[in-house]
C-alpha cells in the first residue's frame, strides 16, 4: 500500500483511517447528509417516500409563504424570541446573583450547589409535569402560597396572557443551576490580588463588583448567554409536558405557548399538520438560520463592548 495521501505514519494508519471512516459514516451520514436533505425537502412539495424526480419542485415558495403570509409562523417566531429572552434574562441574572452569594460559603457550597443544580438533572418531562400540578390555578400550591402572603391568585397556564411567561419561568428554574456552576467557575478564576488591590485603594463592594468582577466575568457571561439562548430557542420537553391535553395538541392555550419547536413538531410529526415534511423542513432551516444569526450577533456585540 504505497498510496498515502494524508501522510499518515506507519502503525497509525488503522487508527487514523478508522476514525475517518467513522466520521464519514456517522457524521456525514447522520448529520451532514440530513442537513443537506432538509434544504432539498424545503424546496419541494415532498409527498410520501417517492424518489426525488417524482416530487414537485417549488423553489423558495415555502420560505416566502412562511415568512410573508403565514401568521402562525410569524407569531410563533415572535413567541420564541419573547420566551427565550425571558428565560435567558431570568436564569442569567439570578444565576449570577446566586453564584456571588454562594461562593463565600465554602462549607455549605456543595449542598447548596446541588440544590440549585437538581432541576437541571431531571427529565424536562418530569419538571413540566410537576410544575403543571403546582401551577394549577384553583388547587395548585403556587397560588396557595401567593394567597398566604396576601397576593391574588394568578391564572398561569390557564390564560393565554400568562402561559408563555409561566413556561419561561419553569424553564429558567431548570436552567438556573447550570448557570450558577458556570459563574462559580468563572469567579474562581478571577485573581484575588486584583480584588486586594481594589480594597487597598479604598473601593467599596459595589464598586469592586462593577469595576473588576463584572468585566472579568464577561467571557463566562458570553458563554452563559450564547449557550442559554441556543438551548432556549430549542426548548421542547417542558412546554410539551405542561401543555399536553386530552387531544395530543400541544402549545396551548390557544397557541399561546406554540414556540417554533412546537410548531415544527406539529407541522411535520402530528396529525394536526398532516405530516407535512417539506414545510416542516422549511421551518427547521429557518430555525437553524435564526440560531446561527443570533449566535454571530451575540458574539459580535459582547466582544466589541467588553474587550479591553
Amino acid at each position: 500500500m504505497r498510496l498515502n495521501v494524508l501522510g499518515v505514519r506507519q502503525g497509525q494508519r488503522a487508527m487514523v483511517y478508522g476514525s475517518l471512516l467513522f466520521l464519514v459514516i456517522f457524521y456525514g451520514g447522520f448529520r451532514l447528509w440530513p442537513m443537506a436533505y432538509s434544504i432539498v425537502l424545503s424546496l419541494f412539495n415532498w409527498r410520501g417516500l417517492k424518489p426525488i424526480w417524482e416530487q414537485q419542485f417549488v423553489g423558495l415558495s415555502h420560505y416566502e409563504f412562511a415568512l410573508v403570509k403565514d401568521a402562525l409562523v410569524l407569531e410563533s417566531l415572535w413567541r420564541t424570541i419573547v420566551f427565550s429572552a425571558e428565560l435567558v434574562i431570568i436564569s442569567t441574572v439570578l444565576g449570577l446573583i446566586v453564584a456571588l452569594l454562594i461562593r463565600n460559603h465554602r462549607r455549605a457550597q456543595p449542598t447548596l450547589r446541588l440544590a440549585y443544580f437538581l432541576p437541571y438533572i431531571v427529565p424536562a418531562v418530569v419538571s413540566g409535569l410537576l410544575m403543571r400540578v403546582l401551577f394549577q390555578p384553583q388547587f395548585g400550591s403556587v397560588n396557595a402560597l401567593l394567597n398566604i402572603i396576601g397576593l391574588p391568585s394568578q391564572p398561569w397556564m390557564a390564560s393565554p396572557k400568562s402561559a408563555l411567561l409561566t413556561v419561561a419561568l419553569v424553564a429558567a428554574w431548570a436552567r438556573l443551576g447550570y448557570n450558577v456552576i458556570l459563574f462559580l467557575a468563572g469567579l474562581d478564576q478571577i485573581p484575588s490580588d486584583l480584588l486586594d488591590a481594589a480594597r487597598v485603594d479604598g473601593a467599596g463592594a459595589w464598586q469592586t463588583f462593577w469595576r473588576i468582577t463584572f468585566p472579568l466575568l464577561m467571557p463566562v457571561m458570553l458563554f452563559v448567554v450564547v449557550t442559554g439562548t441556543i438551548a432556549a430557542l430549542q426548548e421542547f420537553g417542558v412546554i410539551y409536558a405542561m401543555t399536553l391535553g386530552s387531544t395530543e395538541v400541544v402549545g396551548g392555550p390557544v397557541r399561546a405557548t406554540t414556540v417554533f419547536s412546537i410548531l415544527l413538531y406539529l407541522t411535520a410529526f402530528s396529525e394536526v399538520g398532516g405530516f407535512n415534511y417539506s414545510y416542516g423542513a422549511t421551518l427547521a432551516v429557518i430555525l437553524f438560520l435564526l440560531i446561527f444569526g443570533l449566535t454571530l450577533i451575540q458574539f459580535r456585540v459582547m466582544r466589541t463592548r467588553w474587550e479591553y
Partner: protein, 295 residues
C-alpha cells in the same frame, strides 16, 4: 451549615472589598447565607412536593384546604403506576439506550480526540474543524430527513433509530481532543520504543490520563440520553419500547388529574439519574470548570 466558622477578615472581606467594620461583614455573611438557603429551598420545593405527594393517600391529595404533610404514608400510588404502565420496562429501556450510547460515544470520542490531537497527518485540522460544525446543528434541522431515513432503513420503533444516529458526538470529540493535547508526546514515544501498539498506547496510556474528561463526558451523555424526549417521541410508537419520559407523558395524557400515581412515576424516573449524578458529579464540576469555558 450551622457549624460554619465566620471568617473574620480572610477571604470574605477580600472578596467584598472590605469597607465597613467586621460587624457589617458578619451581617452580610449571614444575610447572604440566609438568602441563598431560602433560594435553594424554593428550587427543591417541586421535588419535596413530588416525594410527599407520592406517599399520600388519594383523600389527602384532593383535600381542600390542602394537606401539606400526610397523616399516613401509603405505597398505593407506586402500586397504581406500576400496574397501569410498563414502568419497570421503560426504566430498563431508558437505561439500556442511555448506557449504550454513552459507552459508544465516550469510546469513539476519546479515540478520535486522541487521533486529532496526537497524530500528524495532512488535513487533520481542516477535517476536525468541519467535524466541529456538528455542534452548531440544532437537532430539529436534521430531524425530518433523519426520520425519512429511519423509515427507509426500517428502523421505526427500534432502538437502532435512537442509537445509530447518535454514535458520533461532536462535542465529545472536541472535549477529548482538548484534554489529550496536554499529554506529553515523550510519554507516548517512549511507549512506542517499548514496542507498544498504537491502540495500546491510546487505551493504556492516553485514556487513563484523560479520565476526568471521559468521566465528565459520560455523565453529561447519561443525563442527556436519560432525559431524551423529542427524538424517542417521534421514532418510538409501542409502549413496550417507550423510554421513561414517553411513558410518563402517555400516562399523564390519560390520567392527568391523578396526582398520586403521576408523582410516584416522576419519583421513580428521577432516582436513577440523580444517583448517577451524585456518583459522578466531581468529574462534572471539574469538567465544566476546565473545559466548559473554552467552548
Amino acid at each position: 451549615m450551622a457549624s460554619e466558622r465566620i471568617p473574620i477578615s480572610s477571604s470574605f472581606s477580600d472578596r467584598f472589598g472590605g469597607r465597613g467594620g467586621p460587624r457589617r461583614e458578619i451581617a452580610a455573611y449571614w444575610l447572604s447565607l440566609v438568602l441563598v438557603t431560602f433560594g435553594a429551598l424554593i428550587m427543591i420545593v417541586p421535588f419535596a412536593f413530588m416525594v410527599i405527594t407520592s406517599f399520600k393517600t388519594q383523600a389527602e391529595i384532593i383535600a381542600i384546604p390542602a394537606v401539606w404533610l400526610p397523616s399516613q404514608l401509603t405505597l398505593e400510588n407506586f402500586v397504581q403506576v406500576w400496574n397501569r404502565t410498563e414502568l419497570l420496562r421503560s426504566l430498563i429501556n431508558t437505561a439500556y439506550v442511555a448506557v449504550v450510547i454513552t459507552a459508544a460515544t465516550v469510546f469513539s470520542s476519546s479515540l478520535m480526540g486522541f487521533v486529532f490531537s496526537k497524530y500528524e497527518f495532512r488535513g487533520r485540522d481542516l477535517i476536525f474543524t468541519v467535524s466541529l460544525a456538528g455542534m452548531m446543528l440544532p437537532f430539529y434541522v436534521i430531524s425530518i430527513p433523519l426520520y425519512l431515513m429511519i423509515i427507509t432503513l426500517g428502523w421505526v420503533n427500534s432502538y437502532a433509530a435512537l442509537i445509530i444516529p447518535s454514535l458520533y458526538n461532536s462535542f465529545g470529540v472536541f472535549l477529548m481532543r482538548q484534554f489529550m493535547f496536554s499529554i506529553p508526546a515523550e510519554l507516548l514515544d517512549s511507549a512506542r520504543l517499548d514496542g507498544c501498539s498504537e491502540f495500546r498506547i491510546f487505551w493504556s496510556i492516553a485514556l487513563p490520563l484523560a479520565k476526568a474528561a471521559a468521566g465528565a463526558l459520560s455523565l453529561l451523555n447519561l443525563m442527556v440520553y436519560w432525559n431524551w424526549f423529542f427524538w424517542p417521541l417521534i421514532v418510538l410508537n409501542s409502549e413496550e419500547k417507550f423510554t421513561i419520559s414517553l411513558t410518563l407523558t402517555k400516562f399523564m395524557g390519560l390520567y392527568w388529574t391523578e396526582y398520586g400515581p403521576l408523582t410516584a412515576g416522576s419519583f421513580l424516573a428521577v432516582i436513577p439519574i440523580v444517583v448517577t449524578f451524585l456518583f459522578l458529579q466531581r468529574y462534572f464540576v471539574e469538567g465544566i470548570a476546565t473545559t466548559g469555558m473554552k467552548g
